[in-house]
Symmetry: D2
Subunit: 263 residues, 4 copies
């Protein structure tokens, strides 16, 4: 039952998506007509509301986390669902895990980790820019995830406060400068994921990784292609996102014997 | 501290991976030499063991879920990490969710759901072949996830026992025959993901979806490309997995106005 | 030496491309300033002209065939260089070949064939719409290729006038309806290429191909990805063309033994 | 009519391909049975021969250039049809062109150029290794293209003998070391294509290109995906070639104003 204060995704009959917070006696103007929030209160998710004489329809949905991050306020490059989901899986994130995320940016990845690690785990979010720090704080509160994340306004050049974390995600412009700090924060066998939009960053990161006790070094990129869902003319959309970032993964070990041995 | 009964991933200096269950006074023969399990007990993850005169090295790692599904006994096509992770994210799986998975096959996707929904959620796994049912039971036990999954040896032609589930994954040879049963099991706004290896299956599934109250119908495919992690000669591997499956997603609504309106 | 009547590609210092036909005593207004064509006459390809006080630069280039087709008047979907070039190679087009192209559309593919088959070969272009026929005629003349192409305003339902052609390209909305006509026109061992934008068309075309004596049946798609040519931040462009068409190829044989035997 | 001395592609009913040179009174053993060449002489392309009691069938085809390069003797990495065809199109190769190809390797790209430039054009092939030089000579003769190619056993460090060539292809391990030599050989507005298997080579090549008067600098990669040609289960093959090379293109101009201006 939808009630005041809930976030609701209005999914229009034309495929449009609008996220609102339900407030009694308020109206929201949209391209399909005015939505009277009193009409929403008491309805269930999956039901519809019909607007005006033209009887335009909105379906009432609970926003998914993907809906939330695409509609959030942000000032940074968003992490794409295709990359966020693969990182969660490769870093083997599960309830109870302790995870470092840096830089936090708008907080989307912090939120993605937080939803899974839950109240028995913890996400430590490091961000050195105050505006991003405040934005992420706001976004995480908005998503109801603020209790699972400890945000820190802090430069990582001098390392992290935590040790023995299960996993760490590094998303900064110069990731090759923090490989040692990351190694120190991870537990033995802990997993690291690194965002590298350019091939040059991948090259430099790999060089640094091979200087430290890291194994299982992998580099991936992920091309998601979407199809027009028309059964009698099934074909991909004309254009697609061709590139977001390369993903570098590595596993910490305590010490390493000589030589690069990953294929 | 590694102890008897633990599963340990031996990660060889040559990139090889072997998963063992630690038993005192046992040995395991490998291509790098004999591993004496007594040498492992008491060590920590991230440490190494050194074998024989040639001093070949294995690192001791806790297997990730990806490691486990790639090493499990299976008789079915495996679901790839690239697809499994995207499904988890698109179906918005989180702790506490109730999820249906059918057909269960070797149990990998059941396990992936179970790890996240945790003890406050539940995975309902439907499988009609007894050999797969038994195999999945064994695999889930092996992974310590059997308490989060209720496995059922049952045909889904007559529908599911559950209603109001948060999400449902359909992975059977003829998915277009079960769209109505899936709709009935989902809650309003619930998410469905469908595995369709061929374009013909996608076409038939789309036709059925448009006959029912489903919205947000999307079709995706996911091309993961891996790079040789060599900093001075960075380039993709020569060959890659070109196709596993198309992924169809849809959201249940309670009723639908006329016409196909998804783009 | 550039002279009156030549087509010249003005390649701007900002990467812009403008194709002009040089006429004495004429000016062409552009976003970089006015181009006085008298300044171009007598210059060589590869030289530059400098415009006005701001000294903006255009390089003088001879337009390539790709430049020409991207700048031509057209009313149809263009064939992309990635697809056109692959078709030329798979159909094994060489000087002296006799080739059928249908439907002709704006004439780009006719032109691509004509440039290679040369004066000892011939391209037969079939088009049933008069507006396209006229447009193609105009474009081919524009490119100086009209003598190598015999354009026909004609429906192909009743077959082609030619037999024993070396190769044939079929680019119509319902290619599956003309497979027999194509077979009749080809020589033994002749090559056919078919444009199929949707998976449904591919499926229908394959069914028809297997009913006739065709072998070497292949289906391809071609994903070209372009990179930002910045050495210190090398990475793909953010977006790319995700789909133009599937390409189906087949080879005519005179008769066929039973069964589908292509892998 | 097939006669002695012709090269014939035997295309087996199982999709196998064998290229033979027809000689009277000779037999060729194959996995489908013994082929008596006397049975081939006098037949036409597109016809079939039937072998032995099991009545296995071979179709008689004229080998395409793709067939020839895949069956040639080679000691180098082959250039793939997807790349070769795109290079021909981007370099705007047409009858009468003068083209440099270096390094020649097995001669496949020389042959691809030669087939198009014809007897009014010329291909200049530079190769510094004698074994490759001899191999390419042999292959070109085999393909009947030796008269269109002038092969030179020569290092390109001191430049090329030709000037004002229409196009040039550079395929050596250290392409960044020869950019100036290439510039000198090209005519104004001439096109260059460079093979760069690694991102590091692309980066170095781009740096050198920007130091010289080159414009229209582009970097591409080409992903060809093949589908199983089964109409009722249409889907890509499971695996594909993920990478062969990056392709860098550039156009020579006579002099250049300051700064990198390609996007």
């Amino acid at each position: 039952m939808i009630k005041e204060g809930d976030k609701v995704l209005l999914y229009g009959e034309d495929g449009s998506k609008i996220i609102i917070r339900v407030e009694a006696n308020k109206k929201k103007g949209t391209h399909l007509g005015h939505v009277d929030m009193n009409d929403i209160i008491g309805k269930k998710y999956g039901e519809q509301i019909v607007l005006g004489r033209k009887r335009r329809v909105f379906y009432l949905l609970k926003p998914t986390f993907i809906d939330l991050i695409f509609s959030m306020k942000r000032r940074t490059q968003i992490i794409y669902p295709k990359d966020a989901s693969y990182i969660l899986f490769k870093l083997d994130i599960k309830p109870g895990d302790r995870v470092i995320d840096t830089g936090v940016g708008s907080g989307a990845m912090c939120g993605a980790f937080a939803r899974i690690v839950g109240k028995e785990g913890k996400v430590y979010g490091y961000e050195r820019r105050e505006d991003f720090y405040n934005l992420a704080k706001k976004n995480l509160k908005e998503w109801g995830l603020e209790n699972f994340v400890e945000l820190k306004l802090k430069d990582i050049a001098n390392g992290f406060d935590e040790t023995n974390v299960d996993a760490l995600m590094l998303d900064v412009p110069d990731p090759y400068n923090y490989i040692q700090q990351c190694w120190s924060a991870l537990k033995g066998g802990g997993k690291m994921g690194i965002i590298c939009p350019t091939t040059n960053q991948v090259q430099e990161v790999l060089e640094r990784l091979y200087e430290m006790p890291f194994i299982e070094v992998e580099v991936w990129e992920n091309l998601m292609r979407r199809y027009k869902p028309v059964p009698e003319r099934l074909r991909p959309f004309d254009r697609m996102v061709a590139h977001t970032t390369y993903l570098v993964f590595a596993t910490k070990v305590n010490s390493k014997i000589g030589g690069v041995f990953d294929e």
